[in-house]
Symmetry: C2
């Protein structure tokens, strides 16, 4: 019996859980707080999701499945490496700006429990580097790009895009910026990061 109201409750729980888990992590999150945010009784959490662990996994999976497609953009379309980098950098920073807790949440929880990613790997749509590797190799051979391994390039792209969100408090302290200035700094990166990468790898 899936009335509207039922679906709402389940979704409300997931939403509240998303907020709490992403901000406080598995260990810091409290079932009571999730229930309060969802505006329901704590017992409902268990009615719908059985346990904290399962509720957490539901949140983690939706978070991860939000992030993965973004990566596939750069891996699986047919444009040139340069275009891919420009597109990805701009899109990704825009995307994360709307979900600023996402990368940190995923990275943190994977460090807490590295085996967790094995469950994700089986999912359809898990990022796969094969096409990207071939493409980098081809463009290097053609002399479009300077020699670089696809893995290292991929890591660099991720690092330059994701790190400013993950290490935000640290960087804000080092660079002496407030929220507004940091937002601007991130905004600038939408094009600067791509330029930075392409400057480095493109043959002239």
């Amino acid at each position: 019996m899936k009335t509207n109201k039922d679906e709402n409750t389940e979704e409300q729980i997931l939403n509240a859980a998303k907020n709490v888990f992403q901000v406080k992590g598995m260990d810091g999150a409290r079932m009571q707080e999730i229930a309060d945010k969802a505006g329901i009784n704590k017992a409902m959490l268990h009615y719908y999701y059985r346990s904290k662990q399962l509720l957490f996994e539901a949140v983690f999976k939706t978070a991860f499945s939000l992030l993965a497609p973004q990566l596939n953009t750069i891996l699986n379309d047919d444009s040139s490496i340069e275009d891919k980098i420009r597109n990805f950098t701009s899109n990704y920073i825009t995307f994360i700006s709307k979900h600023p807790y996402l990368p940190n949440f995923i990275i943190q929880e994977l460090n807490r429990n590295p085996d967790f990613i094995l469950k994700m790997k089986n999912n359809l749509g898990f990022p796969n580097l094969e096409k990207f590797k071939k493409q980098v190799k081809t463009e290097v051979e053609k002399g479009i790009l300077k020699p670089i391994s696809a893995e290292q390039l991929f890591i660099n792209i991720l690092a330059l895009n994701i790190f400013p969100f993950v290490a935000r408090p640290l960087i804000m302290a080092f660079t002496n910026t407030n929220d507004k200035a940091y937002k601007q700094l991130i905004e600038n990166r939408k094009t600067e990061v791509a330029d930075f990468i392409i400057n480095s790898i493109k043959n002239t």
Copy 2:
């Protein structure tokens, strides 16, 4: 009355606390586990450090004061930007390889409690960008470097060096590498990251 034995106990606690806190974080750490690892009674933790919070702060401060001097290397010596980047990249990756939990610990806990860094900012030896900024400006004006803001360059350097340690489980999954292969990949970055950055910013 600081006998050897006393100092040993206090240090043993700090050491055990370091291990537990760095792996499990403030929320995931248990006082009992710290006591067990230190081989002493739980009450001793409170005898020496009063509360979990204070013990945690002691750990955090030592961790942070281990990391900060590394950053000052790149900021405050007199070599050229290029040399700084080469030195820093190699040294930093070597250093972190010996303390792999450090960056993630600091980043995670700062996200949990951003105000925490204010306490650090007052410490002597807190990284300061002023000299680095001037130097970048000078080298850009001289035409040695392509135009880039010192802040963005600094963020890029940090990102490329630190991110592979922070996001290790994620990257291992994406690139399909095991522990050994990942270690090699990191090893290669000691020079490749510097090349990557310098390629990007140096005028030819």
